[in-house]
Symmetry: D2
Subunit: 359 residues, 4 copies
């Protein structure tokens, strides 16, 4: 396995001009693409259609190269919201098709490996509940195997795209006599992200199987994963899981590392990663952002949770995105909002894909 990661700026949710250029000049090979992580310029909340628009555009675009079925099997994970300095873009992840054995480094050096798995579709009332936690845990384990990562310590980022409850979904559940976990589309996004993160924590051994239940979702913030990054959207009914990590069975010049932001202004967490890997080039930064549920940051009051004009996830992305961009010098990074059970309350995981300096 050999993973390539290419950042592609987009001028709008349906822009594929730069992507086409990169394919034309051979930097991206459509048949090898396994996932696209996008940042699109919607509100990142319930009625953000830029995510679906981008997915529809990409599916149609890749269909022209590899056919509809292969294009449909690529994992498209769109995170809405480019508040503040954040730049809309796609991170295109490709995996070579040759056998892993051939490519693994002889000296046991671990390189970036990526595995992708989907869960089954969920019914509206399963979101934020036991079923979602367990299905995601199982999918994360499968994705690790797909990535040929044996040790959970080698996993540095688990990206999960999960569904949300729409008004229609709530009506559907109730028409069958069952009550969804929450009576609010916007809040349902938090429950779905939270249950997915707890599932990842179980799979990676961060939390014991018996330690976590649906009562913990959006309730016990002390339970979290340090590598899960989950984002909710209305454009899918299953969870899409992408595991990123390092594997001795992978080849190539990329590798990954991660830290955990303690709060929204904890730039030190990224700074440490950058210093420890000072000889390597930064390919992409991936992070989660959230408004501290305590209403405080470093003892100071923030107003994100009381703001009825701008959703707190938008505030949080703007803040964390700017902090990380100021350190890596690039606003075209992946910062996604809503970090329920992803890192400590008010904080979140931050991961970096590095390119080894091979000179």
């Amino acid at each position: 396995m050999n993973i390539s990661v290419v950042k592609v700026p987009i001028a709008s949710p349906d822009d594929t001009s730069e992507l086409k250029r990169l394919i034309d000049q051979g930097d991206i090979v459509p048949s090898r693409v396994i996932a696209v992580l996008g940042k699109t310029e919607g509100n990142g909340c319930v009625n953000d259609f830029t995510r679906g628009y981008a997915v529809r555009t990409l599916k149609s675009f890749f269909s022209g190269y590899v056919g509809e079925e292969a294009a449909g099997s690529i994992s498209y994970i769109m995170s809405g919201g480019t508040e503040g300095v954040l730049a809309p873009h796609h991170t295109v992840i490709s995996r070579s098709v040759r056998s892993a054995g051939e490519e693994a480094a002889a000296d046991g050096t671990k390189s970036l490996a990526v595995g992708v798995v989907h869960t089954r579709d969920f019914r509206p009332e399963e979101l934020g509940r036991e079923a979602q936690i367990r299905e995601v845990a199982s999918a994360v384990r499968k994705a690790m195997a797909d990535a040929r990562i044996a040790d959970a310590a080698d996993v540095h980022f688990v990206q999960i795209k999960c569904p949300l409850l729409t008004a229609a979904g709530m009506l559907d559940a109730r028409s069958r006599g069952v009550e969804p976990i929450v009576d609010d589309t916007y809040k349902s996004m938090g429950y779905s992200r939270g249950a997915s993160a707890l599932g990842a924590a179980i799979a990676l051994g961060e939390l014991g199987e018996g330690e976590v239940g649906e009562a913990d979702v959006c309730a016990d913030w002390s339970k979290y994963s340090g590598v899960a990054s989950t984002s909710a959207g209305s454009e899918l009914a299953c969870c899409e899981v992408i595991v990123f990590g390092n594997s001795a069975e992978a080849a190539g010049d990329l590798y990954m590392s991660h830290g955990v932001m303690k709060d929204a202004i904890d730039g030190a967490s990224l700074l440490s990663l950058l210093r420890e890997n000072a000889s390597a080039e930064v390919v992409q930064v991936l992070a989660k952002a959230e408004a501290d549920p305590s209403g405080l940051i470093r003892g100071r009051r923030h107003t994100m949770l009381n703001d009825s004009d701008i959703n707190h996830t938008r505030h949080a992305r703007a803040a964390v995105g700017a902090v990380l961009a100021s350190l890596c010098g690039d606003p075209m990074i992946y910062v996604s909002g809503g970090a329920e059970h992803q890192g400590p309350p008010g904080g979140g995981p931050v991961a970096v894909i590095f390119r080894r300096n091979t000179n």
Copy 2:
């Protein structure tokens, strides 16, 4: 002259509980207060009434200590908008009443000095035009004299609160047959801020008197002040000017320095100030933020200017506030939006009030 600067958290625009506590314990002496720079939690745009609410509250509060007239002569400069991590608070600036000569350091050490001056009231049609530029230039010179700062190089921050055009103001101008500079309350804020900043640049010799005219306002972004910080609000008709700098005729343990952010993620500008003054304590950070008018930051597209849900000043404050808070470790800093002609396009001034370590 001896200047004291105290940061006071507020729980809402009308909260004076912590201010009262600080007065009770002698940290703030009402009769010495000359200015309050506040960050209040409104949208910082046209219909932000948190600024006026805070001013009304403070005036009434100080009236209880020093009477209505003295309370009315304090300069209340409220900047709306605490997006992202920013914490609502007031920065209370006091000046001792004893003569400057008595207090000046024998060794010529320069300490923080502050001068305050108001312009006359402006008519709606004067905003953003020649009259505002010239009146502000004159007021800045008077405020330097008031602060006993002789050399413009010793000025590190010029805070100006200026009026905006309301719907009523536009009707008024037109009823007298004159057209205001712009037909949009929100845009008028930029013109008023811009004209004020150009006035400061003239007064400080950053731009020549003959170099700047009203045609430059919100047009020629190459003309700017590196220390002006102007903010617009509907609660006043004149410009209030506060000059901050260092003077050999001032005593005390505070002093000031400043840098210029090249863009919204230029944390390096603050980092340099912090390193050069590593032995001193940071008392307060003051900065301006704006969305780069080019639509780009470090060559990457930002979406702040195309966002019809959130005004670009709100995005910019969230971004710059988080970058600076992550470096100084405190989200209770003064970051104000709309940096027209205040620093280079997309950037802005950043100033720090330090306390000398006297051990």
Copy 3:
């Protein structure tokens, strides 16, 4: 008792110029004012400080006429949000001080009567729960007695201002080991409004005492009051109750009637009232608005509940305000958002204060 009702336009939350003019010319007598119902131009949601700003302004204004204590005993009920065509204003309600017997009409004609009562302050965890329901029910009964209205059928509008859960309130409750009803400031407004409305329904016999419990709040929408209008704000900790109706012990030329809007476009409900009282003059229209929780209006999908940029209460006020203004020909009416348990789901009470044509 003789009630006068005067509508006063305001140019901003702190504008009292027209109010002063009306007092100067004798149309409003400060010592007789018992309540002010205001529409202020904030977002009507959690961080709407225009309500508190207006209350502070009015208290200070009336203090100048009647002293601080009497000014403090006036009931200030501010409803934020003047979306669409709605015009910011105050409805000033005054009651003559002479004895009821003297003024009652000899022929038993019932005229407008108003009664005002406050509950005790609530703890954060009591909001949306049994305590709030029962205290409000008791306060409504007392306010009926205060208004000398014996028959619940003569009550046409019950305006209740109630508290909301702030981030601070939630922390406070949890610090005492109790969990507030909901973990979200914005949603808490609905619970507080809902519990208040159910309390009114009990007091007026619309629902039986044993029929309603806290499990019904924001859950069983079939239970509602046809005359309650409740609105939540952060500026108070108790509920303020104002009962409007007709009483044979009241004199004067005003009287009231009401209808119930079945949905947000049910203009017919107001049209009936206007036609039935065609010979009378419309003094003020008071109504509640909400987004239909089913997501549908007349079988068509609305998007108010899925909109993460604009809160659904803002959408609903804009819609209902315009429908009613188009019928009565005046956009300066009182339309308040969030009609939980106030009228049927998606609908709400609409009441009209009429002036008898005495020619």
Copy 4:
């Protein structure tokens, strides 16, 4: 010519399920479709991608029936913004392919006729200026001919979709040394809509050719068209013009009429149309909405133009949409925002497509 008009609800910008059902059962014949007027649930402002998303979806959908070229020749006019009660939907307009002569009524009865024409693409700097006015005037005349409407008095609605200035467009113009009409994407929408409306007014003889110039655009509000409805979007560079009216050369049971709303609450204008055509069935209502530029409605202050959280076009659509929906009893109507030079200031055209009762 025989025109059919079918309203199709959509569950999201990319929903075609109901459209497909209507085609399956023969109510819509893809090869006859000439235009789709959609209301999509974005903000209707600069960054509303729901319009482009819907267009992309529809083009791809119709391609499956009639091929890419024919699908591309359909005129897709998407108006964003379904504030308040408005329901997202498409109005699908079809024209039979048989010759006009065959179908015309023998008795000279005029029936609904529709003509469609595109202008050439505009350069960014042409928007809001002379070039746009003249090209649109010419296109409206051609569309009348296409609809076989000889008399301008028979034209009841002219729908024009026009471009806006994006940040990229402004950079492009400036790179060629020319300045666009305005330095603000959002405001550019008004200029483009205004120039288009003035072009229509010229073509229909509402204004004389020599009476109107680019200096009038968004300046002289006394110049307007009573039937133009223009809407701006980033998804096209030309203007798409659709003329609706009645023609003796058209057959079928549909016909059209229109009125002009004097202000946002002028429901009487629609009520007159409904009463005059009481025996006919309402097929669709089409109208324009705007915030009165005077800041007043019926002498009362509105806050739409001072609101920095919600754009005034969103307020106006919510208000006008609700007023019209309350009268026709259906929230699934076409109400589009931004009525510059479309009807009098603060008002706008309202048109109704009726179906003759043939019993």
